[in-house]
């Protein structure tokens, strides 16, 4: 590794901070939980999870954290995705495939609109 100039150190820091920020889970206001129980995984939750994470990265969103959660007791609706945000509260979606996953990022998270057609009620 060659010795750094001031500019190179700053460029390196910018790059590395962005990498590190992905590990940082503090102070994020939007939280996406993907149901990953056995039933969820069979129903394609892994694809759903990957699609959400990739779309968030593609759109460069920084204020979102995506975590996995065990089965939500709604096996017929798996994969289930819940989104918590200050603007829209807690909203759950059922049967989330890769396309709907990207739509959740674009419409729910970025545009701030609930996708009514796919919304489900977890309490029911």
């Amino acid at each position: 590794m060659a010795k750094l100039s001031l500019e190179e150190l700053r460029a390196l820091r910018a790059r590395e901070s962005a990498r590190m920020a992905k590990r940082d889970i503090h102070g994020k206001s939007i939280h996406v939980v993907v149901g990953m129980g056995t039933c969820g995984i069979q129903a394609g939750a892994k694809v759903t999870l990957n699609s959400i994470v990739d779309e968030i990265e593609a759109k460069g969103l920084k204020d979102v954290i995506v975590t996995q959660a065990p089965c939500q007791g709604k096996c017929d609706q798996e994969p289930v995705v819940e989104v918590y945000s200050p603007a829209l509260g807690a909203v759950a979606y059922g049967k989330v495939d890769a396309r709907l996953a990207r739509q959740i990022v674009d419409e729910h998270i970025i545009a701030g609109r609930i996708i009514k057609d796919h919304q489900i009620d977890l309490e029911a």
Partner: protein
């Protein structure tokens, strides 16, 4: 594709000694075997501070805090947590899965803590300079080299109010300023990583978890005072910390952050490691400098202070590891910002090694001004085993005990001194009612007696006499005159010793005598040890009304001192009993008591 999960494995000495390294390797193997190697990153970090619960594994982004993990658990952590998104409940610290948005700070141990010195410990990979740089690493050095003069740097240190964390609490900026103004074109910077205080390990953990913070700080000081060479004096018993320092220095040199013409600024600076043999007195600054020069580590009279005549007679700044770790934060964020935390007397935070009879022991970093009650009861979780709080010992062999009545004293340098103790380096030992206060004083005097370098007689002879008198009291031969004698010798040592080892060695005696006079009296007048600790002063006795004659104790007694027939009350032959206490632990009917 980015990583879905990050697995942080503690790589501090505590956890490494219980196989954390194997856990780290097994997690990587399992991730590969289960086909998710591209989805998880396994990172080895520094100490999380919760060593007693180690090995610690933390998985992000769920922020799941796993404790006492074994290598065999790696498979399940990958298959359950990473693949299925199910927390492995049995390994979680609080055994209950988290709700969304809950974080580790919800664990009682971490509440009320504020991590400045330990900001990177348990967060970054200490062997990867890029991780350090990502978290604002070397920002302070940039400022110091390109935007600040030596006086600007010292002024920022002054605004911060930082006082030395090695024990005496001397204002850091003043030391730097004296050294800067001292005559001479060759000057040195030294890091004191000797850490000889029994029970202290915050310096070790800082170096293991965040070595670059110390390198960066020492370089900034070099720029401020006009020095081009630094030395880190560290005890050879800290192999992991030494290794991490060596890796960090190599990486810093490769990046040109150490060496000639740093970042093209024209400033040259490098650092060397010097190993100490681990004598407590070598932590004293003048002895330490002697030792670096290759002489026997013995304290010298001060003045001259190292700031005017230090290493090889040149002006030298010497600071403690924790002091150094604060410096990059002060320069990067500004002294005034740093000074917002803490008290008028002491700014910033302090790291304590909390041990003894508390439920949660570990490394604790709190703002100055936090009370002992908060540390012992909120962070430490109170006394283990439902026993009664007795006292806290702070300041190690130079310090004293603090009792219930002073638990609400805000902790800072002045506050601890006013109640007869010391900040010291930050050891904090909690005692319960089964700890004997005379025995505690004796423990510290045995330590200082053994560690005295012998150069001056008040310390050499006085330490031994104090120890002998305490020993005499614990075996039941003490007299009222001995109490006076203890005080007389103590005061002579305080006045006549050359260095702080001898001057402060009597503190544990004076402080325990001040707060627990009745316990000394009990040993002397009644020949009793109220805590039931001093073997010569206690008797194990079987209460015939409670003993059912189960024979369990007589079978366990190592010297056959217990006799009795089955189903009849047993009795102890006092002349044979060696007071090991095994019988009392064995009896299920609480029939055996200490008198």
């Amino acid at each position: 594709m980015g990583f879905r999960n990050y697995i942080l494995v503690c790589g501090g000495t505590g956890c490494e000694s219980s196989k954390a390294d194997l856990i780290y390797k097994t997690l990587i193997e399992e991730a590969a075997a289960q086909g998710v190697a591209d989805q998880v990153q396994v990172i080895k970090t520094g100490c999380f501070g919760f060593c007693e619960q180690g090995p610690i594994v933390k998985i992000l982004p769920e922020d799941s805090f796993y404790v006492k993990v074994r290598p065999e658990d790696a498979r399940e952590l990958i298959s359950e947590h990473v693949i299925k998104g199910r927390e492995v409940t049995r390994l979680l610290y609080n055994k209950t899965p988290k709700k969304p948005l809950e974080q580790v700070e919800d664990i009682q141990f971490y509440q009320k803590q504020l991590r400045v010195v330990l900001r990177n410990c348990g967060v970054i990979d200490p062997e990867n300079i890029d991780d350090y740089i990502a978290n604002d690493g070397y920002v302070a050095l940039e400022k110091a080299l390109f935007e600040m003069s030596g006086d600007d740097i010292i002024n920022e240190m002054k605004l911060s109010g930082l006082r030395g964390r090695g024990g005496a609490g001397f204002p850091t900026w003043m030391k730097w300023n004296f050294t800067k103004q001292a005559e001479g074109d060759v000057k040195y910077v030294v890091c004191n990583a000797d850490e000889g205080d029994p029970g202290a390990y915050m310096d070790r953990s800082t170096l293991e978890g965040d070595p670059h913070s110390v390198l960066e700080a020492m370089t900034i000081c070099g720029k401020a005072i006009g020095a081009h060479q630094g030395f880190i004096y560290i005890r050879a018993e800290y192999p992991l910390a030494i290794h991490r320092l060596e890796v960090a220095m190599k990486q810093a040199r490769e990046y040109g952050l150490l060496g000639k013409n740093i970042l093209g600024s024209g400033f040259d600076y490098d650092i060397e490691i010097r190993l100490g043999a681990g004598a407590f007195v070598c932590g004293e600054e003048t002895a330490l400098l002697q030792s670096i020069e290759g002489h026997r580590g013995m304290p010298l009279p001060r003045p001259p202070f190292p700031a005017s005549k230090g290493l090889w007679g040149k002006p030298t700044v010497i600071n403690n590891v924790e002091t150094w770790a604060n410096v990059p934060v002060i320069i990067a964020r500004g002294g005034a910002e740093f000074a917002k935390v803490g008290t008028q007397d002491s700014r910033g935070t302090k790291v304590f090694a909390l041990t003894g009879k508390v439920k949660n022991s570990g490394l604790v970093e709190v703002p100055m001004g936090t009370t002992l009650r908060e540390i012992v009861f909120d962070i430490g979780g109170g006394i283990a085993g439902g026993r009664k709080f007795k006292a806290v010992q702070t300041g190690g062999p130079s310090g004293g005990v603090i009792t219930e009545e002073n638990l609400d004293t805000p902790i800072d340098f002045g506050g601890l001194q006013r109640i007869g103790s010391m900040m010291g380096s930050g050891g904090m030992i909690v005692m319960d009612d089964s700890d004997c206060i005379v025995d505690v004083a004796k423990f510290y005097l045995e330590f200082t007696r053994d560690e005295s370098c012998g150069k001056c007689f008040p310390c050499r002879i006085g330490g031994k006499s104090l120890y002998n008198l305490l020993d005499k009291i614990t075996i039941g031969n003490g007299t009222e005159e001995d109490l006076e004698e203890l005080k007389t010798i103590a005061h002579a040592m305080q006045k006549g010793s050359l260095c702080a080892l001898g001057q402060t060695a009597p503190n544990p005696v004076l402080s325990t005598m001040r707060y627990f006079p009745e316990e000394y009296e009990a040993h002397i007048r009644d020949k009793k040890c109220p805590a039931g600790k001093c073997k010569k002063l206690i008797r194990y006795q079987i209460d015939p009304s409670k003993c059912i004659g189960c024979t369990a104790c007589s079978r366990k007694c190592p010297v056959g001192a217990i006799s009795g027939e089955l189903k009849k009350p047993h009795s102890i032959n006092q002349s044979a009993c060696i007071k090991c206490g095994v019988c009392r632990q064995t009896c299920k009917f609480s029939a055996i008591t200490i008198e």
